[in-house]
Point group: C2
Chain length 114, copies 2
């Protein structure tokens, strides 16, 4: 469900946060959906459970996830759900800009990359 890359330099809990944010905005995780358990994800990606927990806790602070004592974390009812296309494109913009910058440094057109 998620893909983590420890060698990328980006903290694991941040990678997880970004992916969950996108899956919610993309509508693949509608409000009310239960997320994989901390221990399950930790085992699957050979990562410490507290690292997953950190991502969940921060997303709850953002209002995207909802805590249910003793029960799995769920996508918050107040979460935006499937965002309109414009907002989704906006969320993707930083990565597009980054790719464009890299292409320019390589003397390639953005079209070449795509």
């Amino acid at each position: 469900m998620f893909s983590l890359h420890p060698e990328s330099g980006v903290p694991l809990y941040r990678q997880l946060m970004e992916q969950i944010r996108r899956l919610i905005a993309g509508g693949q995780l509608p409000p009310g959906t239960a997320l994989p358990s901390v221990r399950e994800l930790a085992l699957e990606h050979a990562v410490n459970p507290m690292t997953i927990s950190k991502a969940y806790a921060l997303l709850e602070a953002e209002g995207l996830l909802e805590r249910n004592r003793g029960k799995p974390m769920t996508v918050a009812a107040g979460a935006p759900g499937a965002a309109p296309l414009a907002r989704r494109l906006q969320q993707l913009e930083p990565q597009v800009m980054q790719l464009a910058a890299a292409a320019k440094q390589l003397e390639l057109s953005f079209r070449d990359a795509a």
Copy 2:
């Protein structure tokens, strides 16, 4: 010449390394070119000189840069120089894949993003 983003989570010295690698592969920094001084770059980006030095040192270990005592760092004579288009595209691939993955999580086509 370079753009550093401390908030991205990617270590600064790594960001710098990636950009120098691309500028060399893109031919914008041909072999023999002198790089900006450590202190100059550090001042420009409000960063510690040793952070720049670390990037330079690692790139020298890779064979991309050349050390000249008392003189500026230069692009190594043995550096690949302007790489063929195929190799440049290959160097860009990881970022393209990353963008594609993000687009998919947002339920967007890669075409939408580009």
